[in-house]
Protein backbone atom coordinates (compact mmCIF):
# COMPACT_ATOMS: atom_id res chain seq x y z
CA UNK A 1 0.00 0.00 0.00
CA UNK A 2 1.35 3.37 -0.94
CA UNK A 3 0.97 6.17 1.53
CA UNK A 4 0.59 9.53 -0.02
CA UNK A 5 2.25 12.28 1.90
CA UNK A 6 -0.15 15.07 2.67
CA UNK A 7 0.90 18.37 1.24
CA UNK A 8 1.46 21.01 3.91
CA UNK A 9 -0.95 23.86 3.95
CA UNK A 10 1.26 26.63 2.68
CA UNK A 11 -0.05 30.12 2.73
CA UNK A 12 1.29 33.04 0.81
CA UNK A 13 2.66 34.89 3.83
CA UNK A 14 4.80 31.92 4.89
CA UNK A 15 6.16 31.66 1.41
CA UNK A 16 6.81 35.36 1.19
CA UNK A 17 8.71 35.30 4.48
CA UNK A 18 10.92 32.50 3.30
CA UNK A 19 11.64 34.23 0.01
CA UNK A 20 12.60 37.42 1.80
CA UNK A 21 14.88 35.49 4.11
CA UNK A 22 16.68 33.83 1.21
CA UNK A 23 17.06 37.14 -0.63
CA UNK A 24 18.46 38.73 2.49
CA UNK A 25 20.94 35.92 2.87
CA UNK A 26 21.94 36.36 -0.77
CA UNK A 27 22.50 40.08 -0.21
CA UNK A 28 24.44 39.45 2.95
CA UNK A 29 26.84 37.12 1.15
CA UNK A 30 27.63 39.90 -1.34
CA UNK A 31 28.11 37.33 -4.06
CA UNK A 32 26.61 37.41 -7.50
CA UNK A 33 24.70 34.17 -7.87
CA UNK A 34 25.80 33.81 -11.47
CA UNK A 35 28.65 35.67 -13.23
CA UNK A 36 27.37 38.21 -15.77
CA UNK A 37 27.55 37.64 -19.51
CA UNK A 38 29.06 40.21 -21.91
CA UNK A 39 26.63 42.06 -24.13
CA UNK A 40 28.24 40.85 -27.34
CA UNK A 41 27.33 37.31 -26.39
CA UNK A 42 23.67 37.85 -27.19
CA UNK A 43 24.26 38.93 -30.77
CA UNK A 44 26.63 36.05 -31.22
CA UNK A 45 24.03 33.68 -29.77
CA UNK A 46 21.48 34.79 -32.34
CA UNK A 47 23.93 34.19 -35.18
CA UNK A 48 24.87 30.73 -33.98
CA UNK A 49 21.30 29.79 -33.29
CA UNK A 50 20.28 30.86 -36.79
CA UNK A 51 23.01 28.68 -38.21
CA UNK A 52 21.70 25.73 -36.25
CA UNK A 53 18.17 26.45 -37.40
CA UNK A 54 19.34 26.57 -41.02
CA UNK A 55 21.08 23.23 -40.68
CA UNK A 56 18.14 21.60 -38.94
CA UNK A 57 15.37 22.96 -41.14
CA UNK A 58 16.97 22.47 -44.54
CA UNK A 59 17.63 18.84 -43.85
CA UNK A 60 20.93 19.19 -45.60
CA UNK A 61 23.08 18.40 -42.58
CA UNK A 62 22.75 14.67 -42.83
CA UNK A 63 22.66 14.53 -46.62
CA UNK A 64 25.73 16.68 -47.00
CA UNK A 65 27.60 14.60 -44.50
CA UNK A 66 26.57 11.39 -46.25
CA UNK A 67 27.36 12.80 -49.68
CA UNK A 68 30.81 13.90 -48.65
CA UNK A 69 31.71 10.60 -47.12
CA UNK A 70 30.06 8.10 -49.40
CA UNK A 71 28.16 9.27 -52.43
CA UNK A 72 30.60 11.70 -54.00
CA UNK A 73 33.68 9.48 -53.89
CA UNK A 74 31.63 6.58 -55.16
CA UNK A 75 30.14 8.50 -58.03
CA UNK A 76 33.51 9.95 -58.98
CA UNK A 77 35.03 6.48 -59.06
CA UNK A 78 32.25 5.08 -61.21
CA UNK A 79 32.25 8.00 -63.63
CA UNK A 80 36.03 7.88 -63.96
CA UNK A 81 35.86 4.20 -64.75
CA UNK A 82 33.18 4.69 -67.35
CA UNK A 83 35.07 7.54 -68.98
CA UNK A 84 38.24 5.52 -69.08
CA UNK A 85 36.35 2.59 -70.51
CA UNK A 86 34.72 4.74 -73.16
CA UNK A 87 37.86 6.38 -74.31
CA UNK A 88 40.44 3.63 -73.89
CA UNK A 89 38.75 0.68 -75.56
CA UNK A 90 37.29 2.48 -78.58
CA UNK A 91 40.59 4.30 -79.20
CA UNK A 92 42.46 1.14 -80.06
CA UNK A 93 39.68 -0.04 -82.35
CA UNK A 94 39.52 3.33 -84.03
CA UNK A 95 43.20 3.36 -84.69
CA UNK A 96 43.05 -0.05 -86.18
CA UNK A 97 40.09 0.79 -88.29
CA UNK A 98 41.74 4.02 -89.43
CA UNK A 99 44.90 2.27 -90.59
CA UNK A 100 43.00 -0.55 -92.10
CA UNK A 101 40.64 1.68 -93.99
CA UNK A 102 43.51 3.77 -95.30
CA UNK A 103 45.34 0.74 -96.59
CA UNK A 104 42.25 -0.66 -98.20
CA UNK A 105 41.62 2.64 -99.89
CA UNK A 106 44.98 2.53 -101.70
CA UNK A 107 44.95 1.84 -105.47
CA UNK A 108 46.03 -1.62 -106.56
CA UNK A 109 49.37 -0.64 -108.20
CA UNK A 110 50.36 1.20 -105.08
CA UNK A 111 49.28 -1.74 -103.02
CA UNK A 112 51.41 -4.04 -105.17
CA UNK A 113 54.44 -1.81 -104.94
CA UNK A 114 54.05 -1.76 -101.18
CA UNK A 115 53.96 -5.51 -101.09
CA UNK A 116 57.30 -5.64 -103.02
CA UNK A 117 60.28 -5.45 -100.77
CA UNK A 118 62.12 -2.28 -101.91
CA UNK A 119 65.43 -3.49 -100.49
CA UNK A 120 65.57 -6.24 -103.17
CA UNK A 121 64.90 -4.00 -106.21
CA UNK A 122 68.38 -4.71 -107.73
CA UNK A 123 67.64 -8.34 -108.21
CA UNK A 124 65.16 -9.81 -110.62
CA UNK A 125 62.67 -12.10 -109.12
CA UNK A 126 61.94 -15.05 -111.34
CA UNK A 127 58.45 -16.24 -111.17
CA UNK A 128 58.47 -20.00 -111.39
CA UNK A 129 55.75 -22.51 -111.29
CA UNK A 130 55.20 -24.36 -108.09
CA UNK A 131 56.15 -27.71 -109.57
CA UNK A 132 59.28 -26.55 -111.19
CA UNK A 133 62.69 -27.04 -109.80
CA UNK A 134 63.78 -23.73 -108.50
CA UNK A 135 67.36 -24.49 -109.34
CA UNK A 136 66.53 -25.45 -112.94
CA UNK A 137 66.43 -21.98 -114.40
CA UNK A 138 65.83 -21.77 -118.15
CA UNK A 139 68.90 -20.69 -120.11
CA UNK A 140 67.05 -17.88 -121.83
CA UNK A 141 66.32 -16.28 -118.50
CA UNK A 142 69.90 -16.62 -117.47
CA UNK A 143 70.97 -15.03 -120.72
CA UNK A 144 68.62 -12.09 -120.27
CA UNK A 145 69.81 -11.62 -116.77
CA UNK A 146 73.49 -11.56 -117.78
CA UNK A 147 72.96 -9.20 -120.65
CA UNK A 148 70.92 -6.82 -118.50
CA UNK A 149 73.69 -6.81 -115.99
CA UNK A 150 76.50 -6.09 -118.54
CA UNK A 151 77.91 -9.51 -118.32
CA UNK A 152 77.61 -10.61 -121.96
CA UNK A 153 81.03 -12.28 -121.96
CA UNK A 154 79.90 -14.63 -119.26
CA UNK A 155 76.72 -15.23 -121.19
CA UNK A 156 78.63 -16.24 -124.28
CA UNK A 157 80.90 -18.43 -122.24
CA UNK A 158 77.92 -20.24 -120.80
CA UNK A 159 76.19 -20.70 -124.19
CA UNK A 160 76.45 -24.17 -125.68
CA UNK A 161 78.75 -24.15 -128.76
CA UNK A 162 76.00 -24.99 -131.24
CA UNK A 163 73.74 -22.16 -129.95
CA UNK A 164 76.67 -19.81 -130.01
CA UNK A 165 77.30 -20.61 -133.76
CA UNK A 166 73.57 -20.08 -134.57
CA UNK A 167 73.53 -16.77 -132.81
CA UNK A 168 76.71 -15.66 -134.63
CA UNK A 169 75.21 -16.61 -138.01
CA UNK A 170 72.05 -14.57 -137.24
CA UNK A 171 74.02 -11.59 -136.16
CA UNK A 172 76.33 -11.63 -139.29
CA UNK A 173 73.45 -12.26 -141.75
CA UNK A 174 71.48 -9.32 -140.30
CA UNK A 175 74.36 -6.95 -140.76
Amino acid sequence: MKFRQELPDINESDERALVERVRALEDESGEKSVPPVPEAYWQNLIIRTNQRVDAASSGKAISISWAARVAIPGVVAIVSFLIALHYYVPLQTRQQSDVESMVLALPDPVMDSLLTDASLSDETLFAVAADEDLFDVPSEQIGEYLIQNDNAALFVELLPEEQADQMLDLLTTGM
Binding site: L7, I10, E26, S33, V34, L45, I46, N50, A56
Partner: protein, 192 residues
Protein backbone atom coordinates in the same frame (compact mmCIF):
# COMPACT_ATOMS: atom_id res chain seq x y z
CA UNK B 1 8.70 44.13 -36.64
CA UNK B 2 9.25 45.02 -33.00
CA UNK B 3 5.63 46.14 -32.76
CA UNK B 4 4.19 42.81 -33.85
CA UNK B 5 2.82 40.40 -31.24
CA UNK B 6 4.28 36.96 -30.76
CA UNK B 7 1.41 35.35 -32.63
CA UNK B 8 1.83 37.75 -35.53
CA UNK B 9 5.52 37.01 -35.66
CA UNK B 10 4.80 33.30 -35.64
CA UNK B 11 2.47 33.77 -38.58
CA UNK B 12 5.21 35.64 -40.41
CA UNK B 13 7.62 32.79 -39.73
CA UNK B 14 5.11 30.30 -41.10
CA UNK B 15 4.93 32.43 -44.23
CA UNK B 16 8.65 32.02 -44.66
CA UNK B 17 9.98 35.19 -43.09
CA UNK B 18 12.99 34.18 -41.04
CA UNK B 19 13.53 37.68 -39.76
CA UNK B 20 10.40 37.26 -37.69
CA UNK B 21 11.95 34.31 -35.88
CA UNK B 22 15.12 36.30 -35.28
CA UNK B 23 12.93 38.90 -33.61
CA UNK B 24 11.40 36.22 -31.38
CA UNK B 25 14.89 35.09 -30.45
CA UNK B 26 15.87 38.62 -29.63
CA UNK B 27 12.88 38.93 -27.29
CA UNK B 28 13.37 35.78 -25.29
CA UNK B 29 16.93 34.54 -25.61
CA UNK B 30 18.13 36.13 -22.37
CA UNK B 31 15.31 34.75 -20.27
CA UNK B 32 15.70 31.29 -21.78
CA UNK B 33 19.46 31.39 -21.31
CA UNK B 34 19.28 32.47 -17.68
CA UNK B 35 16.60 29.91 -16.82
CA UNK B 36 18.79 27.18 -18.26
CA UNK B 37 21.90 28.63 -16.64
CA UNK B 38 20.41 28.63 -13.17
CA UNK B 39 19.20 25.07 -13.53
CA UNK B 40 22.25 23.44 -15.14
CA UNK B 41 24.80 25.72 -13.51
CA UNK B 42 27.34 26.10 -16.35
CA UNK B 43 27.56 28.62 -19.19
CA UNK B 44 28.47 25.99 -21.78
CA UNK B 45 25.44 23.85 -21.05
CA UNK B 46 23.14 26.85 -20.88
CA UNK B 47 24.48 28.15 -24.21
CA UNK B 48 23.82 24.82 -25.87
CA UNK B 49 20.36 24.49 -24.31
CA UNK B 50 19.36 28.00 -25.35
CA UNK B 51 20.27 27.32 -28.97
CA UNK B 52 18.64 23.91 -28.98
CA UNK B 53 15.43 25.29 -27.47
CA UNK B 54 15.05 27.79 -30.32
CA UNK B 55 15.90 25.19 -32.94
CA UNK B 56 13.25 22.84 -31.53
CA UNK B 57 10.75 25.70 -31.37
CA UNK B 58 11.42 26.63 -35.00
CA UNK B 59 11.09 23.10 -36.32
CA UNK B 60 7.94 22.45 -34.25
CA UNK B 61 6.32 25.80 -34.96
CA UNK B 62 3.75 24.10 -37.10
CA UNK B 63 2.51 22.25 -34.02
CA UNK B 64 2.11 25.38 -31.91
CA UNK B 65 -1.62 25.85 -31.45
CA UNK B 66 -1.56 29.03 -29.37
CA UNK B 67 -3.20 27.35 -26.35
CA UNK B 68 -0.46 28.82 -24.21
CA UNK B 69 1.72 31.81 -24.86
CA UNK B 70 4.70 31.33 -27.14
CA UNK B 71 7.04 32.16 -24.28
CA UNK B 72 5.49 29.51 -22.01
CA UNK B 73 5.75 26.96 -24.79
CA UNK B 74 9.36 27.89 -25.48
CA UNK B 75 10.16 27.93 -21.79
CA UNK B 76 8.80 24.41 -21.40
CA UNK B 77 11.14 23.23 -24.14
CA UNK B 78 14.10 24.87 -22.39
CA UNK B 79 13.19 23.42 -18.99
CA UNK B 80 12.85 19.91 -20.40
CA UNK B 81 16.21 20.23 -22.12
CA UNK B 82 17.75 21.50 -18.87
CA UNK B 83 16.32 18.65 -16.81
CA UNK B 84 17.56 16.16 -19.39
CA UNK B 85 21.01 17.68 -19.16
CA UNK B 86 20.99 17.31 -15.39
CA UNK B 87 19.92 13.67 -15.58
CA UNK B 88 22.62 12.90 -18.10
CA UNK B 89 25.23 14.53 -15.93
CA UNK B 90 24.02 12.65 -12.87
CA UNK B 91 24.19 9.38 -14.73
CA UNK B 92 27.71 10.10 -15.94
CA UNK B 93 28.81 11.10 -12.45
CA UNK B 94 27.26 7.97 -10.99
CA UNK B 95 29.00 5.73 -13.46
CA UNK B 96 32.31 7.48 -12.92
CA UNK B 97 32.05 7.32 -9.16
CA UNK B 98 31.27 3.66 -9.33
CA UNK B 99 34.29 3.19 -11.56
CA UNK B 100 32.07 1.66 -14.19
CA UNK B 101 33.20 3.79 -17.10
CA UNK B 102 35.84 5.80 -15.34
CA UNK B 103 38.50 3.30 -16.27
CA UNK B 104 37.59 3.29 -19.92
CA UNK B 105 36.34 6.81 -20.46
CA UNK B 106 38.23 9.18 -18.20
CA UNK B 107 36.69 12.55 -17.69
CA UNK B 108 37.46 14.99 -20.45
CA UNK B 109 36.76 17.91 -18.15
CA UNK B 110 39.76 19.77 -16.92
CA UNK B 111 39.98 19.04 -13.16
CA UNK B 112 41.36 22.50 -12.47
CA UNK B 113 38.34 23.95 -14.24
CA UNK B 114 36.02 21.93 -12.04
CA UNK B 115 37.63 23.31 -8.92
CA UNK B 116 37.47 26.82 -10.34
CA UNK B 117 33.79 26.40 -11.09
CA UNK B 118 33.12 25.33 -7.52
CA UNK B 119 35.06 28.20 -6.08
CA UNK B 120 33.28 30.86 -8.11
CA UNK B 121 29.83 29.46 -7.46
CA UNK B 122 27.89 31.43 -4.88
CA UNK B 123 26.45 29.83 -1.82
CA UNK B 124 22.99 30.25 -3.29
CA UNK B 125 24.04 28.45 -6.47
CA UNK B 126 25.51 25.65 -4.45
CA UNK B 127 22.25 25.35 -2.56
CA UNK B 128 20.22 25.28 -5.78
CA UNK B 129 22.53 22.65 -7.27
CA UNK B 130 21.73 20.36 -4.34
CA UNK B 131 17.99 20.45 -4.99
CA UNK B 132 16.29 17.57 -6.79
CA UNK B 133 15.82 18.44 -10.43
CA UNK B 134 12.11 19.26 -10.37
CA UNK B 135 12.42 21.36 -7.22
CA UNK B 136 15.34 23.11 -8.83
CA UNK B 137 13.30 23.98 -11.92
CA UNK B 138 10.34 25.23 -9.87
CA UNK B 139 12.64 27.27 -7.64
CA UNK B 140 14.30 28.97 -10.61
CA UNK B 141 11.00 29.78 -12.29
CA UNK B 142 9.39 31.18 -9.15
CA UNK B 143 12.35 32.78 -7.37
CA UNK B 144 14.18 34.30 -10.33
CA UNK B 145 11.58 34.61 -13.10
CA UNK B 146 8.72 35.29 -10.67
CA UNK B 147 6.33 33.22 -12.72
CA UNK B 148 2.87 32.52 -11.33
CA UNK B 149 2.00 29.01 -10.21
CA UNK B 150 -0.46 28.77 -13.08
CA UNK B 151 2.29 29.55 -15.58
CA UNK B 152 4.66 27.11 -13.91
CA UNK B 153 1.88 24.51 -13.96
CA UNK B 154 1.61 24.97 -17.74
CA UNK B 155 5.33 24.44 -18.09
CA UNK B 156 5.78 21.52 -15.73
CA UNK B 157 2.39 19.89 -16.30
CA UNK B 158 2.00 19.58 -12.53
CA UNK B 159 -0.83 20.68 -10.25
CA UNK B 160 -0.62 24.08 -8.58
CA UNK B 161 -0.80 22.49 -5.13
CA UNK B 162 2.12 20.22 -5.88
CA UNK B 163 4.13 23.17 -7.18
CA UNK B 164 3.50 25.21 -4.04
CA UNK B 165 4.75 22.37 -1.90
CA UNK B 166 7.76 21.88 -4.15
CA UNK B 167 8.69 25.53 -3.96
CA UNK B 168 8.21 25.75 -0.22
CA UNK B 169 10.46 22.78 0.43
CA UNK B 170 13.05 24.17 -1.97
CA UNK B 171 13.08 27.52 -0.16
CA UNK B 172 13.59 25.82 3.19
CA UNK B 173 16.44 23.70 1.92
CA UNK B 174 18.15 26.72 0.38
CA UNK B 175 17.75 28.74 3.55
CA UNK B 176 19.11 25.88 5.66
CA UNK B 177 22.12 25.45 3.42
CA UNK B 178 22.92 29.15 3.36
CA UNK B 179 22.66 29.47 7.12
CA UNK B 180 24.33 26.13 7.84
CA UNK B 181 21.24 25.10 9.74
CA UNK B 182 20.69 21.46 10.60
CA UNK B 183 17.77 20.34 8.47
CA UNK B 184 14.78 19.41 10.52
CA UNK B 185 11.47 17.83 9.69
CA UNK B 186 9.81 19.57 12.60
CA UNK B 187 8.89 23.18 12.87
CA UNK B 188 11.90 24.04 15.01
CA UNK B 189 15.41 24.19 13.66
CA UNK B 190 18.78 24.47 15.23
CA UNK B 191 22.00 26.10 14.19
CA UNK B 192 25.06 23.89 13.81
Amino acid sequence: MEELSDLQLIEEVRNGKRRAFTELMRRYQQRIYWAARRIVGTHEDADDIAQEAFVKAYTALGDFRGESSFYTWLYRIAINLSLNAIRKRQLVNYLRENDTIGRFFPSTEDPSRQVEFKETQSRLQEAIARLPEKQRAVFVMRYYDEMSYEEISEVMKTSVGGLKANYFHALRKVREYMTDEIPSGTSGHQRK
